[in-house]
């Protein structure tokens, strides 16, 4: 017997028995099937640039703009709240849409939120977002500046140093990274009582 059953009323699969590792996969399946059903069309359009929901993009852009203006006036907590909402909204896009497009929309929000966290003095929040950015876009040197600075502020100087060095491996002439690296190297020496 299969370890899951189909619930006709909710039109969802349900795990029967103790299969914790199956739970996650079934949940993803349910989400996708639910979204396809809600789409009403028999077959959802292929995940291309054209079929991407522009209306939602427009709304997200609006949210982002207001968040940026909040940052400019120094209202960081409000900006973070707006950005988090926007991120959720983008994240709830139907899964059958082009993931490439969803991802690029998401990164805009994460980048801005990481900076907002940083300016707000929430370095752990900034680190988490920067860390996510490094995972999503590992070849952008700026992301290493973000993560490195967050680590520096948290007192993890050696980790910060490694981030700046990794960033420099993608862009050896990046002036900002070089400056940050010099700074953190001095700080490490100071911590070790070398100076």
């Amino acid at each position: 017997m299969l370890p899951f059953s189909y619930d006709v009323s909710s039109k969802k699969l349900k795990v029967t028995g103790d299969y914790a590792d199956l739970e996650y996969d079934i949940q993803q399946l349910n989400t996708l099937s639910g979204e396809i059903l809600a789409n009403k069309a028999d077959v959802p359009s292929p995940p291309s640039k054209e079929s991407f929901d522009k209306k939602l993009s427009h709304m997200a852009q609006k949210l982002h703009e207001s968040a940026v203006s909040n940052i400019k006036t120094g209202k960081y907590p409000e900006a973070i709240k707006l950005l988090t909402t926007g991120l959720e909204m983008v994240n709830r896009r139907p899964k059958y849409e082009s993931f490439q497009m969803t991802l690029s929309e998401m990164t805009i929000f994460i980048v801005t939120r990481a900076d907002a966290y940083m300016m707000n003095g929430d370095f752990e929040g900034a680190f988490n977002d920067a860390d996510l950015l490094v995972t999503l876009l590992p070849s952008i040197p700026d992301n290493y500046i973000r993560r490195g600075v967050a680590l520096f502020k948290m007192g993890r100087y050696v980790d910060a140093k490694n981030n700046f060095e990794r960033g420099l491996s993608f862009d050896p002439d990046n002036a900002k990274l070089k400056k940050e690296l010099d700074f953190v190297l001095k700080k490490i020496d100071e911590e070790n009582g070398e100076l």
């Binding site: 590792d21 995972t135 590992p138 070849s139 007192g155 993890r156 050696v158 140093k161 490694n162 060095e165 990794r166 420099l168 491996s169 993608f170 050896p172 190297l185 490490i188 020496d189 911590e191 070790n192 009582g193 070398e194």
Partner: protein
């Protein structure tokens, strides 16, 4: 006619030789391997050691720790727990006994052995004349006609002797007899062939014979042989190449495969994973949950009553080997995060430090007398060993909340924890001046193992950083590393028992090479286990001076060839201490792959351009190739020089990465 029969070894002449040979075959190699193992592990000649640091600090579980390390009973514990040693002692005493048996058993002269010289009692170099005279004397003495008053028995004796003397004389003088003697060893021609069995007779013939022999045969063939083979096979089947139990390896691999990348790995995750190991279960008869609880207790410095504490330390002492296996498996998946976290977890378990919530002062928690993290003052901004060595004893006492009289000891321990300073690191291909595509490269690192108390740059001669390329070094570039003594890092953690089994996994550094582009491991994880610790004892002045500074060479062999296309490839080389907190080092490293410099003038082996007026020259002109004209020769020397210059330009290209200059 020759007859065939079996001789049994009744007088114990031959079988002891047989036994002693068998014993020697087993004992000698075992002894050699055992002694070399002991030598490499404990010989002070091969090990780089800092002078034994004596601490007055005793951890709450000091007794149990020393019980496991065997340091309390001056090595007796270790001596008799070693099965090989017991086997060797028993084996060698048996050997001596059999040797004694051989020595005391007199060799009975074999009647079958015919020695004409001995019978005639002359030297083998005697001339025919001498032989004749001796024979005459003896035959007169033993002639059967001259036996008057002797008893029958004596007569018989003398008669046989006389026959022998005659035979011996003939063997040395008569042609045919001599030939017989030389061919068959006896003047009468071929003798009966005897086959000796190196066993006493009672084992083969007699009442008990067949049952005893049958039992021995059965036990050898039906029990011992299958047992040995089965045991070997079982070991092969149940353990991986690195000595990890197959179930453990499967648990580790399945964790890595099913790991959710979004989930953070920390020390507790590693502990949970390690506690599933079959080795720990079979060593303690505990469930995974109980083992995990014990490991967490070690991490949090929770101590139990004597018996349970001993069990906990036993589990902990097995962890380094498991971590090593886990790192090996994770490295095949190129999972750098898991490797790093596993090595960190090992250190936290060795030092009994839980980093949660106090990662900034973790370096201080490994010092003696610093038993609780609450002891450490937050007001003094000192977080590292390096900084701690710069402040006064009074400040140290205030910082880690201890009695002032112990501060000097804390300082001395902090200064004897080895840290690494890299002087030079580069990619190298033996025999090449640059890193060429698709080649087998290795990384050469010249580094100092020094004390955190030594500050600034050491003025190390450039000569010490250079390696001359000799034929030997080209053949085996790693011999220079192997010639260095094995590191034995002191001081040992007060909470962790370093045993014979785990010492190879806790001394030194793990070396990880990660690709900057994707942050994954570029190669398998290697260990830096050889080097010089003598720098630790140098004063600041001697260190800065650089005269007495010993440079350690480390080489990392890359298993995969260099990339096929020229360009810059960025790596991070990490040294992760296997037992200390705060002696790690990461350096960026660039591999500049380029085509090998073109050497235009290849010297005498080059085929010369054909002469203009030869047929080959005519053909070459048709193909548009260069030809040698008669007056071309004069220019040759000039162009040679030019080529040489080009060559030297290429050798000047430096593939070094900048020395980091800063380390932890």
């Amino acid at each position: 006619m020759a007859r065939v029969e079996y001789d049994y070894d009744e007088s114990a002449e031959t079988w002891p030789y047989f036994v002693i040979t068998l014993l020697a075959v087993v004992l000698v190699p075992t002894t050699i391997s055992y002694v070399s193992k002991i030598w490499s592990r404990s010989s002070s000649g091969r090990k780089a050691q800092v002078k034994k640091y004596a601490t007055s600090f005793k951890a709450s579980n000091h007794d149990q720790v020393s019980q496991l390390t065997g340091s309390k009973g001056s090595g007796n514990y270790f001596l008799f727990s070693d099965k090989t040693l017991v086997f060797l002692i028993v084996g060698w005493s048996l050997f001596l006994y059999v040797g004694y048996v051989i020595h005391t058993t007199e060799l009975v002269a074999d009647a079958n052995v015919f020695d004409p010289w001995e019978i005639l009692n002359i030297d083998s170099s005697a001339t025919e004349k001498q032989i004749k005279s001796v024979y005459r004397k003896l035959s007169l003495k033993f002639h059967p006609d001259k036996l008057g008053s002797l008893s029958d028995e004596e007569k018989e004796d003398v008669e046989t002797k006389f026959v022998l003397i005659n035979k011996a004389y003939k063997a040395l003088t008569d042609e045919i007899t001599k030939e017989n003697f030389l061919k068959y060893g006896h003047p009468d021609g071929p003798q009966s062939v005897t086959h000796g069995i190196a066993l006493p007779k009672f084992l083969v013939d007699g009442k008990l014979a067949s049952p005893v022999l049958v039992v021995i045969y059965i036990s050898m063939i039906a029990i011992a042989l299958p047992f040995v083979v089965a045991k070997w096979w079982d070991n092969v089947r149940s353990h991986t190449r690195h000595g990890l139990h197959i179930k453990t390896a499967a648990a580790f691999s399945s964790y890595i495969i099913n790991n959710n990348p979004a989930k953070l790995i920390n020390t507790e995750t590693i502990i949970e994973l390690i506690s599933k190991a079959e080795e720990l279960k079979s060593a303690t008869n505990l469930s995974s949950e109980e083992i995990e609880e014990l490991l967490l207790a070690q991490l949090n410095r929770v101590f139990f009553d004597s018996k349970k504490e001993l069990q906990k330390l036993k589990v902990v002492s097995l962890v380094p080997k498991l971590i090593n296996g886990l790192v090996d498996i994770a490295a095949t998946f190129r999972n750098s995060e898991l490797c790093v976290k596993a090595i960190e977890a090992q250190r936290y378990l060795i030092q009994a430090v839980n980093p949660t919530g106090c990662s900034d002062i973790e370096q201080l928690l490994q010092l003696p007398f610093v038993e609780k993290k609450e002891q450490v003052s937050k007001k003094i901004p000192v977080h590292t060993l390096g900084k701690l060595t710069t402040i006064s004893d009074g400040e140290i006492a205030d910082l880690v909340g201890i009695d002032k009289k112990n501060a000097a000891e804390v300082r001395s321990v902090a200064s004897s924890i080895p840290v690494i300073k890299v002087l030079k690191a580069e990619f190298k291909i033996p025999g090449e001046s640059v890193v060429t595509p698709q080649s087998n490269a290795h990384i050469v690192v010249k580094l100092l193992i020094k004390s955190p108390a030594q500050k600034g740059q050491a003025k190390v001669d450039d000569e010490k950083l250079e390696e001359k390329e000799t034929f030997e070094s080209l053949r085996d570039p790693f011999s220079i590393v192997q010639d260095q003594p094995v590191l034995a890092c002191l001081p040992e953690s007060p909470y962790f028992p370093v045993t014979v089994e785990n010492s190879e996994y806790v001394n030194g550094w793990a070396v990880l090479l990660t690709v900057q582009r994707d942050g994954k491991l570029a190669d398998s994880v290697d260990l830096l286990t050889r080097g010089s610790l003598s720098n630790l004892e140098l004063s600041q002045k001697a260190y800065s001076d650089g005269e007495e500074v010993q440079v350690t060479t480390y080489k990392l062999k890359l298993n995969s060839p260099t990339p096929p296309t020229p360009g810059d490839y960025h790596f991070k080389l990490s040294f992760k201490s296997l037992s200390y907190l705060g002696s790690d080092l990461d350096i960026p490293l660039v591999m500049k792959v380029q085509e090998p410099p073109k050497v235009e003038d290849a010297g005498v082996y080059d085929i010369e351009d054909p002469e203009e007026d030869s047929i080959a020259g005519a053909m070459a002109t048709l193909r548009g190739e260069k030809v040698k004209t008669a007056d071309d020769d004069d220019d040759d020397s000039a162009s040679d020089e030019e080529d040489l210059e080009i060559e030297s330009d290429f050798t000047d290209i430096n593939t070094d990465t900048e020395d980091e200059g800063e380390d932890k």
